[in-house]
Symmetry: C2
Subunit: 473 residues, 2 copies
């Protein structure tokens, strides 16, 4: 038996212990999910960048095709084509603010992954757990394809494909496929697939759940098989194009990158694509005939195809935008799937918010007006009635508000202001407002990342495992 098989068994045991009440067996979702051969096939890469503290420590793990930046520790884990971006980790001397309390940091923060199995998962941002501000910890956890673990320490969890946990501390939970959770803290819950759930203390709660038949067309998960559905088809049909960029050590694709912008050498950039100033294109982003207006971004697993982003557009990790024109400051949330076409174009007006895990998949032309919030499933113009609200209307809301399958309660103003504040914060972090001297962000800092390529054992019992690697300043 190969060492990596034993490791996978160990991880399954650990996660299952955490998920014993209610009993949930992650085994059938994990075993044989990735053919053993593939663990030995892809190199891992870690970035060295002058702006981020550095400490990589990997032991007893397989890291095939995974990406690391910042301070990361990986122990007894299998990370397959996952991205761990530690460029927003907190620093020694920083203060972490939590509901009026100031928590001083005594050390640089680290991402720590232990006894976990992550497939094509994105880990980013930093720990929002006030109890552990110096460690962004992922332990005894399985996360499947295109899950996002964003500012969310998780322990004893199963995340289905395209699930997102965001700014939430999660213990012993099953987060269903394409579910989005941003609720601060969550323990011993099963979140059904296709749930979009945002809750801020007693201030507000947003809840939407995709109808099962709709969700099943886009993403479905059955034990013993890889996920299926249109979301998987969309990404899988394009994965071959990433091979060429991973085969080259060369630094930059052949496009013009203006001052202040950065395009990862591990992004696919093709067709008539334009990159304007202060644009950030992360590794594993895919741009084809894309207009990236000033200060806009494409994060990991974003696809921007036949689309115009007019500037200061935030596309969160895994957001896909096809056949669309987005006005300035339009926000497209995590794993949103936004697809128009030449026959059924999509226009999104200025400053509108496409909620995380929204599916806009057009059968006819749709124009979303400026300053609207949209969610759920939109195929025609009339679907907006049940799946959108004008921001001003929502801001005025206090108490219960229902529209279509969406239920909102609490302060609409706090909800909208919270989103707007976060979008501004993301633009700042990404360097969208860089003026050549001030407001530097990832777009500028990312220009100088260089990549180390690290390889697994090629043969024998240890095939697909990596040696122990410790990299320090």
């Amino acid at each position: 038996m190969y060492r990596i098989e034993k490791l996978i068994d160990r991880i399954i045991d650990r996660v299952n212990i955490n998920l014993r009440e209610p009993a949930f067996d992650v085994g059938p979702y994990v075993r044989h999910l990735v053919p053993l051969d593939k663990f030995g096939k892809f190199y891992a890469f870690y970035g060295l960048a002058p702006h981020y503290p550095l400490h990589f420590f990997f032991t007893h793990s397989s890291l095939a095709g995974s990406y690391f930046l910042g301070r990361c520790t990986v122990d007894h884990s299998v990370l397959y084509k996952s991205d761990l971006r530690g460029d927003e980790l907190k620093r020694k001397g920083d203060s972490f603010h939590y509901r009026g309390i100031q928590i001083p940091l005594h050390d640089d923060e680290s991402i720590v992954v232990k006894d976990s199995f992550l497939v094509k998962t994105l880990v980013h941002n930093n720990s929002h757990d006030p109890e552990n501000p110096e460690e962004f910890r992922i332990q005894n956890t399985v996360a499947l394809h295109y899950a996002n673990i964003h500012g969310a320490p998780v322990e004893g969890c199963f995340l289905g494909p395209f699930a997102t946990v965001d700014l939430t501390t999660v213990h012993d939970c099953v987060i269903g496929a394409f579910a989005y959770v941003q609720v601060g803290e969550l323990s011993h819950e099963q979140v059904p697939p296709g749930t979009v759930w945002i809750r801020s203390h007693d201030d507000f709660e947003f809840l939407y759940r995709f109808p099962e038949d709709v969700l099943g067309r886009y993403i479905a998960l059955r034990p013993g098989a890889a996920p299926t559905g249109e979301l998987m088809d969309f990404v899988e049909s394009r994965k071959g194009e990433f091979q060429a960029v991973f085969d080259s050590v060369a630094c930059c694709p052949g496009i013009s990158i203006p001052e202040g912008a950065s395009v990862s050498p591990y992004a696919v950039v093709k067709g008539a694509t334009t990159i304007e100033g202060n644009v950030l294109v992360a590794q594993r982003a895919y741009l084809s005939d894309a207009w990236m207006g000033s200060g806009s971004n494409a994060q990991e697993n974003c696809y921007i195809v036949d689309a115009q982003l007019q500037g200061y557009n935030v596309t969160a990790h895994g957001g896909k935008i096809v056949g669309a024109t987005l006005g300035p400051k339009v926000f497209v949330g995590f794993n949103a799937f936004v697809r128009g076409s030449a026959d059924a174009p999509l226009v999104i007006g200025e400053a509108s918010i496409v909620m995380p895990h929204t599916i806009i998949d057009l059968e006819e032309a749709v124009a979303i007006p400026p300053r609207h919030v949209v969610w759920g499933h939109i195929r025609r113009a009339r679907d907006l009635e049940d799946n959108s609200v004008a921001m001003d209307e929502l801001v005025a809301c206090q108490g219960e508000f229902r529209r279509g399958l969406m239920r909102f309660r609490g302060s609409g103003s706090a909800f909208v202001r919270g989103f707007q504040h976060r979008i501004e914060h993301i633009l700042e972090e990404n360097g969208a407002y860089y003026d050549g001297r001030h407001h530097m962000g990832h777009a500028q800092k990312g220009q100088n990342i260089i990549f180390n390529l690290i390889q697994p054992y090629p043969q024998g019992d240890m095939k697909g495992m990596y040696p122990t690697i410790d990299i320090r300043p």
Copy 2:
């Protein structure tokens, strides 16, 4: 001041202390030899191979463009495009035989480089120092372009360009450009440039020294400048062709590689080149219109151009063969420069030995008969009179034997047998006799080396330095 400049100063200080009697200042040969920019430009690479013990530890060093295999420790050193091949290091439990004494090894051997500056230097084999069998140590040493440190622990030494120390423990010595030393142990000596000196206890001694005017055309070293001469011109004019192979992560050049043979992805292979079975082509070898007969090899910094090697040919590190046909089992020693042409072809007969650091640079056709030993400088057929001897004649020699500028004393039989024994040993180590099951060597083991690419700090005070890296099983 950049950290790397301080490090270079530190190394110069250390070496100069060792070389204080007689006073020799290495500073002018080292400072500004490599432009600072270049230290940050090239990645280093270390190979993982299932057959060799693994432990890499690098700290406070710059490793630009260097290659590592096996167990290597580098501390406070600058290794620029150097090759450290730890695939012949001794293993725990082995016995080291030294003049009838058996020395058991209590640990796997390591290459240890400390406070040293190596430029395009080849380090290979293992420590032949009976006092330190578990550590192949290079300390307080400067080695310039295309020097070979082969089975030779060195401390407090300066090695000029194309110098070779072979199976010799060297303390506090200056080894001139293109000098070859294989004398067992050497302390506080200055070996003049172009000396070829082999001594085995009281058994025999071989000594040749190139005339100054001849040597100066091929290699010259002046303080404050890079080395010059035809040897430098030859390699420098081809170095651009290596860039493409270093820019690709891809595994193999597009040639047919038969079972049992291996061609490094970091070799240049071009033109109508044929690779037969059990051939070994190491990284930084250059083959152009080369016929590599069964079991023959091309080591680091070897150039084989318009040449036919008929089989079981050993070309030692840095050997160059141009416009020549070599019969079976011809040996070409370290850094030998062997150049015929279409108008002045060279033929070397079966089992002949081209001594290390021989220059054969033809103005007319020359045929070296089988079973001859050649040395020195050969341009025409008549130069063989002063620069070769039939093996049988040398075997019969006991006592003093002079020919041309070469002086031999001792047992010709011990000398020839020693060489033959070593050539057989090299063929065995390289896997030339692999039959599909037995006699596996580097040619077979090298098929499964995979390469990790490691990068220096790209910016700031630390530019060109590497983080501390520890890689363990």
